[in-house]
């Protein structure tokens, strides 16, 4: 009986300690989770603003203005060549480089 009582007391103390530890760890983890959730929310808000800023800066009217300043414009017919004529040009260049040799 004495042994049983001693064991029971020991178990009580051990359980109390374990429960306290678990409780403490849970609180710490809960705080950490809350902190991270808050950080995620803040990060998502920042990302939303950055995304909007980026879209605003990349809007076509702004890009078009810069493109025009650089002398760029829509593609025109004269800027393209057919496969056949480019092949002919390639052959002509090969002949010319052969002549140089």
């Amino acid at each position: 009986m004495r042994i049983l009582l001693t064991l029971a007391v020991a178990m009580t103390l051990l359980s109390a300690y374990t429960l306290y530890s678990v409780n403490y760890e849970t609180r710490v983890l809960t705080d950490q989770v809350r902190g991270r959730e808050k950080a995620i929310k803040a990060a998502r808000r920042d990302i939303a603003i950055l995304k909007t800023d980026r879209a605003h800066l990349a809007r076509p009217d702004r890009i078009a203005r810069h493109a025009r300043d650089l002398g760029l414009g829509p593609a025109k017919r004269g800027q393209f060549d057919t496969y056949r004529s480019s092949n002919r040009l390639g052959r002509a260049m090969t002949v010319r480089s052969g002549d140089e040799e």
Partner: protein, 567 residues
């Protein structure tokens, strides 16, 4: 035990204590035994209780572990939604068009405010457009504990207010809808109210399809973005060219559209003057109405595309010549051409020379009932709605007699929304299939139209006519031609109704275009409202002089963006 003397155990060195009688000893022994039994029972009970307690704790731990709950929440009342978290809206390429952001709103606790005048004066220094009277009124009642001062400040403004250090003021984070492209596609996107609830356009569609989450506080939506069929780059090019056309031809308004003829996807849709989704006043400005879908107009000769298709479907031989030299007299009305041909014309020539008399004669030959049924089959006269809202219903004539049949054949007497006209025209170009216009990106099997409304031969015939109308200088649309892109189209100049009849100086100049005509993929529509004659147009206001060159500029800009390079 001898001599009736008992030696008490535990006494040292045989020392005797007081003598005890045998009866007493027995009684004491019995009492000791019963006390020992009672003690044992108490111990057992205590152990049992402790065991029970341990078992209860263990059971509770197991229960919590099974439920997976780490936090118990107590809610006294359900929180009321104070805002609506909306998903992003993106274009077909994934570029952002609308998004929620968190901004700070300035609030006051009038009960805590010490000096009302100081607050009004100091706020005016950092928020100059904030009315002092309004601030004073908001915080006048000391019994109140809450008052809005200014909703949704920028970060810089909020910081400046914070730096004032005024007691009684506080900030409350709130969701705000942001449109990073400004006015671009403003009519399509629509708008939201102060609580972020959709009111018009695609924003309203988001609410209707329950993609919007009611939230308590500034929580951003985690739902996937809504992908539109619009292409931001094409949209901008169309808007810019329309704005340039309005300036160039001194037009009061302009609409433009680029549509995929096979899927009905609208790649760009603009109505100028445009509107900014966040400027509420502009939504009530009549001059900024969405003329593309919100208004109906008589569009003029662009409807001859349908008349030519009707004639072809009605079995009129292409080689048949109709005598268009004299005005057409119907029910007491005389229909005449602006430039009479002076000779009989074939169906193709009627289309190319845009003869009203010829179109009227073709329609009369086929008959009013068949014309009505044909236009209904194309979807021109039936109710239409898109994700951006209901399209204004067509204004049909009260009765569909001969005169109506004739006037409708060349685009008068039937007023339709340009968007509805464009979607009906798609069948003329895509091989004969009816498409439903959509502002959502379509993919896979759902993208292919299945309802045939005209024969593929008819569509082929119309494509040929449209191409010739642009490629040949005999046509009215040659100014829309883009070298190497095989553009086709039809002009339309419709006088606008005014007091006492039609006004010849006030017209809607339209051009229905398509490219590339050997295998059309995209349809364009440009309508200029009340353009003026200029030096460039030799003082003329016909569509061939203004809407056609505007279409040329639009197609030359957007075709590379859509994957078509000049041959």
């Amino acid at each position: 035990m001898s001599n009736g003397i008992i030696i008490t155990p535990g006494l040292a060195d045989g020392a005797l204590k007081r003598p005890v009688r045998s009866a007493d000893v027995q009684q004491q022994a019995q009492a000791f035994q019963s006390e020992r039994r009672a003690a044992r029972i108490r111990s057992l009970v205590a152990v049992a209780l402790m065991g029970l307690a341990f078992m209860t704790i263990a059971a509770q731990l197991v229960r919590l572990a099974m439920q997976g709950q780490t936090e118990q929440r107590i809610s006294i009342s359900a929180p009321l939604a104070t805002a609506f978290a909306r998903p992003d809206i993106i274009d077909r390429q994934g570029r952002l068009m609308a998004s929620d952001i968190v901004m700070h709103s300035l609030v006051a606790d009038p009960h805590v405010v010490l000096d009302q005048k100081e607050i009004a004066d100091k706020l005016a220094t950092v928020l100059p457009d904030l009315s002092k009277t309004r601030v004073l009124n908001a915080i006048a009642d000391k019994t109140k504990r809450f008052a809005w001062i200014r909703r949704r400040l920028s970060d810089a403004e909020a910081q400046r207010v914070h730096d004032l250090g005024l007691p009684g003021l506080d900030f409350r984070p709130e969701l705000r809808r942001s449109y990073p492209l400004g006015r671009s596609a403003g009519h399509i996107l629509g708008s939201v109210n102060i609580d972020n609830k959709g009111l018009q356009g695609i924003e309203r569609y988001l609410d209707e399809r329950q993609s919007v989450e009611p939230v308590h506080g500034p929580s951003l939506s985690a739902r996937p973005p809504l992908r539109l069929s619009l292409d931001v780059a094409v949209q901008f090019a169309v808007e810019e060219e329309l704005a340039e056309a309005m300036r160039r031809y001194s037009a009061a308004a302009a609409v433009g559209l680029v549509m995929d003829v096979n899927t009905g996807e609208i790649i760009a849709a603009a109505s100028l003057p445009g509107l900014d989704p966040i400027i509420t006043d502009e939504h009530f400005d009549k001059s900024r109405i969405d003329r593309l879908a919100g208004g109906t107009y008589e569009l003029g000769s662009v409807l001859k595309t349908f008349t030519a298709a009707l004639a072809f479907e009605g079995g009129i031989n292409q080689a048949t010549r109709l005598d268009v030299r004299q005005p057409l007299e119907v029910e007491g009305y005389r229909i005449r051409d602006l430039h009479p041909a002076g000779r009989p014309l074939t169906v193709a020539e009627i289309f190319l020379q845009s003869s009203n008399v010829g179109a009227g004669m073709l329609a009369l030959q086929v008959g009013g009932q068949r014309q009505q049924a044909f236009l209904e089959k194309l979807g021109l006269t039936t109710p239409l709605a898109t994700e951006a809202g209901t399209v204004a219903p067509a204004n049909l004539p009260g009765s569909w007699g001969d005169i109506e049949t004739v006037t409708i054949s060349y685009g008068h007497g039937l007023a339709v929304a340009p968007l509805q006209f464009a979607s009906a025209s798609a069948a003329m170009i895509n091989g004969g299939y009816r498409v439903k216009p959509t502002f959502l990106r379509k993919t896979g099997r759902t993208a292919k139209p299945t309802e045939r409304v005209i024969a593929s031969e008819t569509s082929h015939f119309i494509r040929q006519l449209m191409r010739e109308n642009v490629a040949s200088t005999r046509g009215t649309g040659w100014r829309a031609d883009v070298a190497g892109l095989n553009v086709g189209g039809k002009t339309g100049t419709a006088e606008m109704p005014g007091i006492g009849g039609y006004n010849a100086k006030s017209v809607i100049a339209s051009f229905l275009g398509a490219f590339p005509m050997d295998k059309p993929r995209y349809l364009t529509l440009v309508c200029l409202f009340e353009p003026k004659g200029t030096k460039e147009t030799d003082g003329k206001i016909t569509a061939g002089r203004n809407a056609a060159p505007t279409t040329r500029r639009i197609i030359s800009r957007v075709s590379p963006l859509l994957g078509f390079l000049p041959d």
